[in-house]
């Protein structure tokens, strides 16, 4: 027989009565005191599963309830009568330090593994199995928007453009499924010397970049890098990876709390930037192999990138968060 005190709530009013609760050996529970005198079989009583040290709630058949602060007595009594094993399993996990450390290690390793390997791996698998139409759909309208708000018509000489278009055609011939790849020239204005690939297969080169280059080879090196983005389906992989990481972080950190939204946003940005740097490195690899295979001097890529970074006015903080790897790291293998 075990005995302790309990708070009795009749379920009709918010009145509280302090009673004595007796756990009888014959699997019955007796409440006594403050005008309460009730005897119930253990099997007729609902007992809330243990959680930390919050009071246990014993629900009686008529929805009256009592709160028992002494968790250990309730646990001992339930054990005596072989009850509550499933719910006490969770409490066991939560109370033994060994299991807690195991859960911690599992979570850390899982999160790291997913972000570092799992997400990029699955995104790549899925991307390479999707028809290219999906990429096209992703990039629809981007050029139109950019033409409206950033670009103006190219002022580069027709002769240079013709030469570059010819070499771009030669590049296309070496790639499978490259029929839709297209090279366009635009005046970059605010985006200055730049080149980028839209998922629709359009590569845009700004006049400023052409002017900055000292040879056609330099522009070709940049184009090879951009083609790398297209061949490796970077846009769609990026879209998949970013949403996967956002879901992952939200799942792991649990229900959204007031301050955590900002905290969740920061690692998401950092992880996305890291993915982006990986893609840049992949595109660099592509350019590297293309240049080697076609006898274009590797210095072309080095020179043009160095010249671009000289014209950039971004500060260090932006650089830290930027989506491109530091120029010096990128160029190491080309030198």
């Amino acid at each position: 027989m075990l005995k302790t005190t309990a708070e009795y709530h009749d379920g009709v009013s918010s009145n509280v009565r302090q009673v004595e609760i007796v756990f009888n050996d014959d699997a019955s529970i007796y409440l006594n005191g403050a005008g309460v005198s009730r005897l119930h079989l253990l099997e007729d009583i609902g007992i809330s599963p243990r959680l930390g040290n919050i009071p246990r709630v014993l629900t009686l058949p008529d929805n009256a309830s009592c709160h028992v602060a002494d968790n250990d007595i309730v646990d001992a009594y339930l054990k005596m009568h072989h009850q509550g094993s499933a719910s006490s399993l969770i409490h066991l996990l939560e109370s033994r330090i060994v299991y807690v450390i195991a859960a911690l290690l599992f979570t850390v390793v899982f999160s790291w593994g997913m972000v570092e390997h799992g997400v990029p791996y699955f995104a790549k698998k899925i991307a390479f199995n999707l028809p290219t139409d999906v990429d096209r759909a992703l990039g629809q309208g981007t050029l139109e928007t950019l033409d409206k708000i950033v670009f103006t018509e190219s002022t580069a000489s027709a002769e240079i453009r013709q030469r570059l278009l010819h070499r771009f055609d030669l590049m296309k011939q070496q790639i499978e499924d490259a029929d839709e790849y297209q090279l366009l020239f635009r005046h970059g204005n605010t985006i200055e010397a730049n080149a980028f690939a839209l998922p629709s297969g359009i590569i845009v080169v700004t006049d400023e970049l052409v002017e900055l280059s000292e040879s056609d080879d330099e522009v070709i090196a940049i184009l090879a890098h951009e083609v790398g983005h297209l061949v490796y389906r970077h846009s769609i992989r990026m879209a998949m990876q970013n949403s996967a990481v956002a879901i992952l972080i939200a799942t792991v950190t649990g229900d959204p709390f007031s301050t955590s939204s900002l905290v969740v946003a920061l690692p998401t940005i950092l992880v996305n930037a890291s993915y982006s740097r990986e893609f840049e490195a992949e595109a660099d690899d592509y350019a590297y192999r293309y240049l080697l295979a076609n006898n274009v001097p590797l210095e072309a890529f080095v020179n043009i990138l160095e010249r671009i970074s000289e014209t950039e006015t971004e500060s260090r903080v932006e650089n830290f968060l930027s989506s491109h790897p530091a120029t010096v790291d990128r160029l190491r293998r080309f030198k």
């Binding site: 009145n15 959680l51 919050i54 649990g254």
Partner: protein, 389 residues
């Protein structure tokens, strides 16, 4: 002789502790991962039960009673709807507008159901809370006043918040007894107007900095180094780390990260940008916390249950300090200190909440209730609507 009702202040207390909650939290996370998210419904209930169960008023604790199975069903329905949405809009883009319209129209209903689910599953002394607000009134507030807020470019925001809080409080019941709300629209505008003073201070500091920094820059190298040191101290940890990394790179011969390394103008510009970023974020946080704290105080201090009144005494400076240190702690610990952060903010909030009780709180009467499905609550959660009460 006339009997004078006896007033006394009952404090809310919070007994949760970070170590205990950390264990519950990490097991929740691990089991949710292992079960591919299925356990997350149980995790949510355990978390709520822990926080409610450790909150006491006048010696009795609160209870969270939701059945995890209902929450799981709700989540599965939400997931199904999202998948249907993604696939149908992929093939029939025309339907996107229909979905958005449906979501907009369904939002008030979801909010009502979510509040109902949460309150009906909350009890104190075996008496459940309830929410009886109508979807029609929610629609007037969310669609009508919501549109007004957009049309007025946010000028109607305090009015919108007031209407929503009033609606939330006035339709909440403890057993058969309704809560009542007494704050005026003017009081909400006062909170927002005072918050506007903060950006004014930023502007003044900005102007002073714009004048002072070029003057500083013309000073000697020695002074410039000291200044950099000072800037380091005012940066956030990530920025400090970036700055440290840069300095290490320079020492180890990694200089030339950019062709312009070594140019002191550029360095100064970078440091100023970092500092500006940190200060801007801190002020952004401060404004948010100011509005949140003052609104919470205003709402709670205007709320009464029968003849009992709530009193909230949160201070902006304390809330700011706790949130700021929470953010830093969560970033440094890669999220592992989330449990500690949740416990300390909850403790601070509840330690500053009390109820002025007339006589005692023993005479509330329970009401008959129907059960509410969790789906709407999960919809609201899925789209991140804060139901904070």
């Amino acid at each position: 002789m006339e009997i004078v009702p006896k007033e006394r202040e009952c404090k809310f207390e919070f007994n949760g502790n970070a170590g205990e909650y950390f264990k519950i939290w990490i097991v929740n996370v691990a089991l949710s991962i292992i079960t591919l998210g299925i356990y997350s419904a149980w995790a949510k209930v355990r978390t709520r039960r822990y926080f409610y169960g450790n909150t006491t008023l006048d010696g009795s604790n609160f209870e969270y009673l939701a059945d995890p199975m209902n929450i799981l069903k709700g989540r599965l329905i939400v997931l199904t709807v999202i998948i249907v949405y993604i696939f149908t809009t992929e093939f029939i883009p025309m339907l996107e507008a229909a979905f958005v319209l449906l979501y907009m129209l369904g939002l008030p209903w979801m909010i009502v159901k979510a509040m109902q689910f949460n309150l009906r599953n909350t009890s104190y002394r075996n008496i459940r809370f309830d929410f009886e607000g109508s979807s029609k009134e929610a629609a007037i507030i969310f669609i009508g006043v919501g549109l007004l807020t957009i049309v007025t470019l946010g000028l109607a925001t305090p009015y919108f918040i007031k209407r929503f809080k009033e609606y939330s409080v006035d339709n909440t019941y403890f057993g058969t007894t309704p809560f009542s709300f007494s704050a005026t629209t003017g009081e909400f505008y006062r909170v927002y107007l005072k918050a506007m003073i903060i950006p004014l201070i930023i502007a003044i500091i900005g102007i002073i900095a714009a004048v002072a920094i070029p003057a500083y820059h013309s000073a000697t190298t020695m002074q410039s180094q000291m200044q950099q040191q000072q800037q380091m101290e005012t940066m956030t940890p990530e920025q400090q780390q970036a700055e440290m990394q840069r300095q290490i790179d320079e020492i180890t011969g990694n200089a030339g990260l950019q062709a312009n390394t070594g140019n002191s103008d550029q360095e100064l510009a970078g440091a100023v940008a970092a500092m500006t970023f940190a200060i801007t974020m801190a002020f952004y946080l401060l404004i948010g916390i100011y509005i949140q704290t003052r609104t919470t105080n205003l709402v709670l201090n205007s709320t009464s249950l029968g003849e009992h009144k709530l009193v909230s005494t949160l201070r902006v400076r304390n809330m700011f300090f706790i949130h700021l240190t929470n953010i830093i702690a969560m970033i440094i610990s890669l999220g592992l200190l989330i449990p500690w952060c949740k416990i300390r903010i909850t403790r601070y909030r509840l330690n500053n909440l009390s109820m002025i009780v007339v006589d005692d709180i023993n005479r509330f009467i329970a009401a008959e209730q129907n059960n509410v499905k969790a789906t709407a609550g999960e919809f609201a959660d899925a789209f991140d609507i804060d139901m904070g009460f």
